[in-house]
């Protein structure tokens, strides 16, 4: 899958390498900024309140 994507990126090899790095960086940024903060509310491991937080 990733091999197919890489082969189908436009441009010479160096350009495709740079494009892939940019894609990976963008994916990590979206995960850290939006996905993980949202996911965090379902993580029971860092609830530090007691009795459901009165």
């Amino acid at each position: 899958m990733y091999g197919w994507i890489f082969r189908n990126l436009p441009g010479p090899l160096w350009f495709r390498i740079i494009t892939s790095i940019l894609f990976i960086a963008a994916a990590v940024l979206v995960l850290m900024q939006f996905v993980f903060p949202w996911l965090s509310q379902f993580n029971p491991l860092n609830d530090s309140t007691i009795g459901g937080g009165v």
Binding site: M1, F36, N43, L45, N46, S48, I50, G51, V54
Partner: protein
Amino acid sequence: MVQSPGHLDSVVGVDELLAGNNKARAQRKRSDRRRRDQRPRQGFFRTLVQVVGELLITAGVILLLFVVWELWWTNIEANTAQQNAVSQFAQEFQGPVTPPPPGGSTDFGPPKVMAVPDAPSTVFGVAYIPRFGKNYSRPLVEGVAQAQLDTLGLGRYESSTMPGGVGNFAIAGHRQTHGAVLDAIHTLVPGDKIYIQTKDGYYTYVFRNNQVVMPNRADVLLPVPTQPDAKPTERFLTMTSCNPRFGAEERIIAYSVLESWQPASAGPPAAIVAQVAANQKG
């Protein structure tokens, strides 16, 4: 670079060079074609397995990334937000930051208790706990929802009193992640001081004991902790956090009792003078 053909001819021969070049190019083209021809022959099942495998590897990498985010990045974000909240509180604080002259009166009467903040997430004070580090100062914020604890550190249970009040001033904080404000809660030793600063002054609590309880034990927040029928006469400070350190099966509770208080005009207690002044500088 432009060279005279005659010159090149005499060394290798342009035709030879071109022929070699073309041969290489043709070879590359052929191998490209061979590679392209090979792909469809890979078979549907093999492609499926490959794609599923790559997706599973991706899921694993994302999970690892989540752990990194939770255990490392949330601390960086929360520490910055809390430092900003502390310096903002310190800059709005009215009062000297030098300790009271020795020999002066240390009895300021019953502690002044500030009104309950109007809105959740209001920063109403700063906690100084020297046992957690010389520079430990964290904001006290109204409310214990995720919105407060995940960014601003120590949240006040809305059912509890304000600092200095008769009864139980109860706060919660993360043991790990989001600033890890109460990471060292198990290192408190009876007699350790916990200083609470509000706009009215400084409240000095003395740590008494720890207790590990199950997460449903809301009675630790009662005006007299764990005693539903008792009439409160003392001024407690109760801190709650997760236990064990990287889990949440239990809660760890730290009980403290008010020892003394001094109004803002009297200056901070000697033990935290440097830190109060540093916070005010920003």
